[in-house]
């Protein structure tokens, strides 16, 4: 790590701003705020029933590492019979109540709205930046819009998904690991220039 982040405490999010060569922003990253997040886990033997019920109710569940978005929700497969459900404009409690009413006894729910930081990474050099830590093939022929992965980046566990073909990626990182993740992201993107927003002024 160069002097780039020397002034940023390791316990704080890298402050918003531009890092790298003057006037270049090959990568744009922003913290996505205001999402409620829940873990939805199928009860034993109920994954198929659960997926059917929720799909019928307009909440598409695919039992695979895929991210599917509707107007209000995004569902991301993180393991067999297990999903993260993201909702905009809703509290965690409300999301749990809503999902509980849909899933009934077929699933258990856990609020994770405060557990993570969500960062969107986009821009022409996003893929080249992510290659510096993501040991998953992100080539369009291998990973496209709607694909998701739970993996580790620079010693930090993440779940990420490609939200559009631009490409844009969204990373979900545990709250206490977010400073380390943003340090890695900023340092890795610096050669292309990165404009970081939504992380406060430090």
């Amino acid at each position: 790590m160069s002097d780039l982040l020397a002034h940023v405490p390791h316990t704080r999010l890298v402050p918003e701003g531009s890092y790298g060569p003057e006037g270049k922003a090959g990568v744009r990253a922003r913290q996505v705020l205001g999402l409620a997040v829940a873990t939805l886990t199928a009860r034993k033997g109920k994954a198929a029933d659960l997926a059917r019920r929720l799909c019928a109710a307009g909440l598409p569940l695919v039992d695979a590492p895929k991210a599917v978005s509707t107007m209000a929700f995004t569902t991301i497969g993180t393991g067999p019979g297990r999903w993260l459900i993201l909702a905009e404009g809703m509290t965690g409690t409300a999301l749990l109540a809503h999902l509980g009413s849909l899933a009934g006894a077929d699933a258990t729910l856990t609020d994770q709205s405060d557990a993570n930081l969500i960062v969107e990474v986009t821009g022409p050099d996003a893929r080249a930046t992510l290659a510096k830590g993501v040991a998953v093939d992100l080539h369009p022929s291998a990973f496209g819009a709607g694909d998701a992965a739970t993996t580790v980046v620079s010693h930090v566990g993440v779940t990420f998904w490609q939200s559009d073909a631009a490409p844009a990626y969204r990373f979900m990182v545990a709250r206490s690991f977010a400073p380390a993740f943003l340090r890695w992201l900023t340092a890795s993107a610096a050669e292309f220039g990165i404009a970081l927003s939504g992380t406060g002024r430090g």
Binding site: A42, V62, P65, G79, P80, R82, T150, T151, G157
Partner: protein, 92 residues
């Protein structure tokens, strides 16, 4: 080294935690020879050359325990399956 996780796809081996021999079964604790059986279960291991079935945990992925069949000479991965017989799959 890469391990093809049945859920996540090909992943770096660093994402997985190794446990060991997957051919062992936890003995019946009520059996009359339970003490000997548990001793063997906890401590005694074969060290086979060639194909070996072993438990790996996809700690930084889908959190599934896997049975990975690995050639202990070449590290070639010969097969990977969920440790828990999966009755939970969603039909495609």
């Amino acid at each position: 080294m890469r391990i093809p996780c049945p859920y996540c796809g090909s992943r770096d081996a660093h994402e997985f935690a190794y446990l060991g021999d997957a051919t062992l079964t936890r003995p019946d604790p009520a059996a009359s020879d339970a003490a000997e059986a548990f001793h063997a279960y906890a401590y005694l291991r074969e060290n086979p050359e060639g194909a070996h079935r072993e438990y790996w945990y996809h700690a930084n992925g889908c959190r599934r325990w896997l049975v990975v069949t690995r050639n202990t000479r070449t590290h070639e991965i010969l097969g990977v399956a969920f440790a828990r017989p999966s009755t939970d799959e969603v039909p495609a």
